[in-house]
Symmetry: C2
DNA sequence: TGCCCTTCTTAACCTACTTCAAGGTACTGA
DNA sequence: TCAGTACCTTGAAGTAGGTTAAGAAGGGCA
């Protein structure tokens, strides 16, 4: 009876109460994996076989463009899910990379096992649907901000949206997330703090 | 028994077979609405009360930024769904506008009625989940292309992804969708066709 | 047929952001 | 304690894409 799995069960039980049978399935189906800082858990060109629930640590998901530049798409910390849904659900190879940047523990589940869990507890379906919806809404907001606003206000948005993770994120990762170079990000920050001091 | 609703039922039955009872609910719950070219079916600041299935015609969804510039996020043609999921599901006001740009007929459903339909036919849940997933994957791809590539290759991607709709879309709408001004889009096109002629 | 109105294109100039290069700062480990 | 390395900042020069303004090219309609 792993204490690790209990963290996932507690997380799920915030939304629905899980029958003992489902809890058992979760303990069987979710595999505990550990990663060291720097390690990749998914590489471009592979199939994404696992959906991952982060117990502790931190991950970033990024693409590498034709000039070998990295672009961060998403981060994941405690109690977040991370994986490439496109590759996971559609059995295609991924364009994404996922790298651990703080030593981490995750619980990983295959597609078959995830379906097994959802079948055993239909209430979880609505939870997962909601997670999906939220994640879709977040990516919609992301598109809006990439299309409709400049770097300065994307930086402001980031500060407002993720204040609690700022200190765990290297500047270069944030720069890449909001879509500018580290050099320009440096200037953005300076400008921003000068302005907010003035007002 | 509206022939209009039959189009929706046919569309759904490509994936799941619907019991007569569910078909009846669909006929009752989906409201037929008609729009003329130019008309708005959703305005920034309103609540998105309806999820809309497009029978015929064409729509675009866009935001207006602080400089009153429009940015197209998505289009919708026959047999597509359109609405703002964030506003629809979370009962918040929307930042989006949806405008008809070819005379159109849609079937609209409220959140309560959509839930009623899903309850009556649980198989539809997985269909809707899949639609969500696809729509999430599409927006993910959109972020990837906005972040990871320049305007020229976003234009190429658009040509490859939506060849069948090109002739129904004014250049300025495509320009806005890929995230450039109409003027710059003009240059892109010229450059693209010169290159492809040369090779 | 011709006119108005919207859309598209072209060109000159402008700016937000990138690139490149250099120096500063701060962990990390022997 | 010191060196090595990764990270952050600064500045100068370059570029992708925006702005403005004007003309060209359709397309609906009298």
């Amino acid at each position: 009876m792993s204490i690790k799995h209990q963290q996932l069960i507690n997380y799920l039980e915030c939304a629905v109460s899980l029958p003992e049978e489902t809890q058992e399935i979760i303990r069987e189906c979710f595999m505990l994996r550990r990663f060291k800082k720097g390690q990749y858990i998914l590489n471009e060109g592979e199939f994404c076989r696992y959906n991952n629930f982060v117990l502790q640590g931190a991950f970033r998901m990024f693409i590498v463009d034709e000039n070998f530049k990295e672009h961060n798409l998403q981060f994941a910390f405690n109690n977040w899910w991370i994986g490439d849904p496109k590759s996971f659900f559609n059995d295609v190879t991924t364009r994404l990379n996922i790298q651990c940047f703080e030593n981490a523990e995750v619980l990983s589940v295959t597609k078959a096992n995830q379906e097994k869990m959802l079948e055993s507890c239909p209430e979880l379906n609505s939870l997962f649907r909601e997670k999906f919806r939220n994640s879709m809404i977040r990516s919609y907001d992301r598109i809006l901000s990439l299309i409709g606003s400049n770097a300065q206000s994307r930086y402001k948005d980031f500060l407002e949206t993720y204040p609690q993770y700022l200190h765990r994120l290297p500047n270069q990762y944030i720069a890449s997330y909001i879509g500018v170079t580290p050099e320009f990000f440096s200037k953005l920050k300076k400008e921003y703090w000068q302005q907010s001091k003035a007002s």
